[in-house]
């Protein structure tokens, strides 16, 4: 065999893989593209009410006080729905999946929040200087991710409920040069770099949209499916619009701002997933996972539950942290 043929054959070796092994095997019956419809803009008081609710998904099915012409009677009380705890199926290969909803501009700043699945963290695996807090590994198969975009509905290029679009438009200057413009007004601040950023796997995303001078004008929010959990092929999420800028949300926007968004296929919170979020926000993931390994990773790596060389005592932990042990009501 000549060296040239050998070279060509060597190149072809890369073609024996189609990456399907990193896509979920399980295909749910849930639609991959969903139009949620009209969403209300909660006052900070209503938002506090949502956060205090034990069944936030039921609370969201109610209506806000405000009414939108044409939507009277859509929800109890007459206004649009308050918020959403939803689920998305995995899209076909090469197709964008996700959800869209609209809200009416208030004439001021509003904060849009989406929280996909529960939480994700990178396990600390260093032999020296290990961070005990993050030593217990996350179950990466149950994580999904959503990227959020938003802007004026008139700039949105997608067909709600049919296919996902974007907010890309074009401007032609006086000499005929065409410039691509991103009309998205939902600019994320990751805390690490300013302006455009993404929350990352299973992380909450939020942005402030300024609707000044556009009261009553329709805005569209796109929840773009970035990844679907590999264990069940269902991406669950919670989303809400709150009146006022995001920096006004009490205690900041964290994984605990919206709770219980990790849901069973077909609805209903995954038992104890809200406590996993609570443990994450309290930076007590190691204790929670060691006490409830079924919620994190059944296979406990050697030493993952040791704190400064001492073995983990579940009884002591549960006595000290009763809300972080799943069997405690």
């Amino acid at each position: 065999m000549s060296s040239a043929r050998l070279f060509l054959l060597a190149l072809l070796a890369g073609c024996d893989r189609n990456a399907s092994d990193i896509l979920p095997d399980y295909k749910s019956d849930l639609p991959p593209v969903v139009n949620i419809g009209e969403m209300g803009v909660l006052t900070m008081g209503e938002f506090a009410e949502l956060q205090a609710e034990l069944s936030p998904w039921d609370w969201c099915e109610g209506a806000t006080g405000g009414e939108i012409p044409g939507l009277e009677g859509e929800y109890p009380g007459g206004g649009p729905r308050r918020c959403i705890y939803g689920e998305l199926g995995a899209p076909e290969l090469g197709v964008n999946g996700g959800a869209t909803f609209n809200f009416a501009g208030t004439g001021g700043e509003v904060c849009v929040i989406v929280d996909p699945e529960a939480v994700f963290w990178s396990a600390s695996i260093a032999e020296i200087g290990r961070k005990d807090e993050w030593a217990y590994p996350d179950d990466t198969l149950d994580d999904g991710d959503i990227d959020m975009y938003g802007g004026l509905s008139s700039y949105y290029t997608g067909s709600p409920g049919i296919d996902l679009g974007d907010f890309i438009g074009f401007y032609t200057d006086s000499l005929g040069r065409t410039v691509e413009i991103d009309y998205s007004e939902c600019k994320m601040d990751s805390g690490y770099i300013s302006d455009v950023a993404r929350g990352g796997r299973a992380a909450v995303e939020s942005c402030t949209i300024d609707t000044t001078g556009r009261e009553g004008v329709s805005f569209t929010v796109v929840l773009d499916t970035f990844s679907v959990p590999l264990n069940d092929g269902v991406l669950s999420f919670g989303a809400v619009v709150v009146n006022g800028p995001c920096e006004n949300v009490p205690n900041g926007i964290t994984e605990c701002t919206l709770r219980g968004e990790s849901q069973e296929t077909g609805g209903g919170m995954i038992t104890c997933s809200d406590r996993l979020e609570e443990a994450f926000c309290a930076e007590n993931v190691q204790g929670f996972c060691c006490a409830n390994p079924e919620m994190c990773n059944e296979v406990v790596p050697e030493g993952a539950c040791e704190v400064e060389g001492q073995p983990f005592d579940r009884d002591v932990f549960c006595a000290e942290n009763p809300t972080l042990c799943c069997e405690n009501e």
């Binding site: 000549s2 040239a4 070279f7 401007y171 200057d173 006086s174 000499l175 005929g176 040069r177 410039v179 413009i181 009309y183 007004e185 300024d210 000044t212 001078g213």
Partner: protein
């Protein structure tokens, strides 16, 4: 058979560089000498009138735009794309641009956002300007006036890891940006690698210092951090959208283009006159 890969790799050589839509253009920028008449105020609220000192001249920003418009501001300004926010101008989507003199770190915290390249001939020149013209001597780390050019040089070399004066961008003996020509200051300028369209306009402005000798186009909170013994601050840097939204940065006392050339060919030599004083 062995020749096939060679032939394939030669396909890349068929690229014709003249198909590029970007060009280098050159010309001059002119500023009335009158722009050098400014007022400054020192820390004790004493007001000083400075006349005709080229060291007060701020950075000149030049951009290439599809066109200009009247009415948005008191001065002629570049045309903009759609306004996307109630609080901000639309983007001008410039084709290209450059500066004549730029903001540079002057080696001392006191000089953050107060130093422009192409204006000084030596360290002594800088010390003289601040002590005898602005009446605000440059203070060193101990809060004492910098006593000599040697001290200044040593600090610059230390803070910036320089080894020669050639690396000190704000000292360019014999290579100042502007020359006097009658009633004007004139500088040669090149705008490299700009997108080209027939009829495009060259527009710009000079950012003149405020009464406290600050420049509105410089952000003291940006730039490389200085962590030098007990000194901790940032060196300052230009805002990144000066040509995209110039209206945010042009303030009273700045001089703006009022003779705005258009370019029909990349070989055209342009002359921009910054003849309008924004009050």
């Amino acid at each position: 058979m062995h020749i096939l890969p060679l032939l394939v790799s030669l396909v890349g050589c068929a690229y014709e560089e003249t198909a590029l839509e970007h060009v280098d253009i050159a010309g001059t920028v002119k500023i009335p000498k009158e722009a050098l008449n400014i007022e400054v105020i020192d820390n004790d609220d004493n007001v000083y009138v400075i006349e005709g000192d080229i060291r007060t001249l701020g950075p000149v920003y030049l951009g290439v735009f599809p066109g200009v418009q009247e009415g948005a501001y008191a001065y002629t300004s570049p045309e903009t794309g759609p306004v996307l926010s109630a609080t901000e101008d639309g983007d001008t989507y410039p084709y290209g641009g450059t500066t004549v003199g730029r903001m540079e770190f002057g080696c001392y915290e006191q000089l953050v956002c107060k130093m422009v390249t192409g204006r000084f001939t030596s360290f002594d020149d800088v010390l003289d300007f601040h002590a005898n013209v602005l009446h605000e001597p440059i203070l060193n780390q101990q809060g004492l006036p910098v006593g000599s050019a040697e001290e200044y040089r040593e600090t610059c070399y230390d803070v910036n890891n320089y080894a020669t004066d050639f690396e000190v961008d704000f000292i360019k003996e014999g290579r100042l940006d502007f020359k006097e020509d009658g009633d004007y200051l004139v500088a040669d300028v090149e705008i490299l690698h700009t997108y080209f369209k027939e009829g495009m306009s060259i527009w710009g402005w000079v950012d003149m210092p405020s009464r406290t000798f600050d420049f509105s186009t410089c952000d003291a909170g940006q730039g490389t951090p200085v962590n030098f013994y007990d000194q901790q601050y940032t060196r300052g840097a230009n805002y990144s959208n000066l040509l995209n939204q110039p209206g945010k940065y042009i303030q009273g006392g700045d001089w703006v283009a009022d003779e705005i050339p258009t370019i029909e060919s990349a070989d055209d030599k342009f002359e921009v006159v910054l003849g309008f004083k924004n009050e």
